[in-house]
Amino acid sequence: MSAVEVRPIVALLAVVVVLAGCGNTTAAGFAEPPASLDPNSPTLAAKDIAFTKAELDVPAGRPFILVFENQESVAHNVSIYPEGASADPLLLGVVFPGPATRWYPVPALAAGTYVFKCDVHPNMTGTLRAS
């Protein structure tokens, strides 16, 4: 096994993992509802490794709070991506196990269609319409 040096391989793997964590948008999400929470804020929930809605309508042109209720112990989040993209999320929601709720601050979105998904479970996805 002289050809295989353990330390350089392990060091390389460690560097890959550290680099993987760099350069990403910081995950956002409040553990308590903000004082200025609009009672009509869009809401979404997750249960049985699925979102409870396949489509979500949100206001366009102004920031808003997305209320996300994770109803199960499995960890989920909500991220918002431009349609057809799987990188550079417009919102990177913090991942958390339930049952619990997080309040995600979403930046102003131009009118149009986006994709929301759980980054832990790529099959959990839906369409977000900003209008």
Binding site: M1, S2, A3, V4, V6, R7, I9, V10, L13, A14, V16, V17, A20, G21, N24, A27, I49, E72, S73, V74, A75, N77, S86, V94, V95, D119, V120, H121, P122, N123
Partner: protein, 129 residues
């Protein structure tokens, strides 16, 4: 890096650590839900058992189990790097997998010799049989 002597306290500690790390990352994957994570977690648990099962066939193939587990953990790291979520539990799982690979490579280096030569020998023996 120092070689392990079979049956020595260091070798036993390394084997226990391999099993513990394998069970730990397997358990983490099982808690994530969904078919892919469940299968991934189950695979780790099966590998953990295979690392200590005292059956002749399993013991004879332990070098292959070690290699397979290195590949399995590497695939999990690469898969996460390409598409996985970046959050605390994921980082813990990847750190565990890196530690696991390090210990497996240490065992491979100590017990199995050059893995390529070993694979070539096994394939040749299978072809002859």
């Amino acid at each position: 890096m120092r070689m392990l002597r079979p049956g020595s306290p260091a070798a036993i500690a390394v084997r226990i650590a391999i099993v513990a790390l394998t069970v730990a990352t397997g358990w983490i994957h099982l808690t994530l839900g969904g078919l892919l994570f469940t299968l991934n977690g189950a695979g780790y648990l099966v590998a953990a058992v295979a690392m200590v099962a005292p059956f002749a066939l399993v013991m004879r193939l332990r070098w292959l189990i070690r290699l397979g587990l290195v590949g399995y953990a590497l695939a999990a790291i690469v898969g996460w790097y390409l598409t996985g979520p970046r959050y605390d539990v994921a980082y813990i799982a990847k750190a565990i997998e890196i530690g696991l690979i390090a210990l497996l490579l240490l065992e491979i280096r100590s017990y199995d010799g050059n893995p390529l030569r070993r694979v070539r020998r096994t394939v040749a023996a299978l072809v002859r049989a």
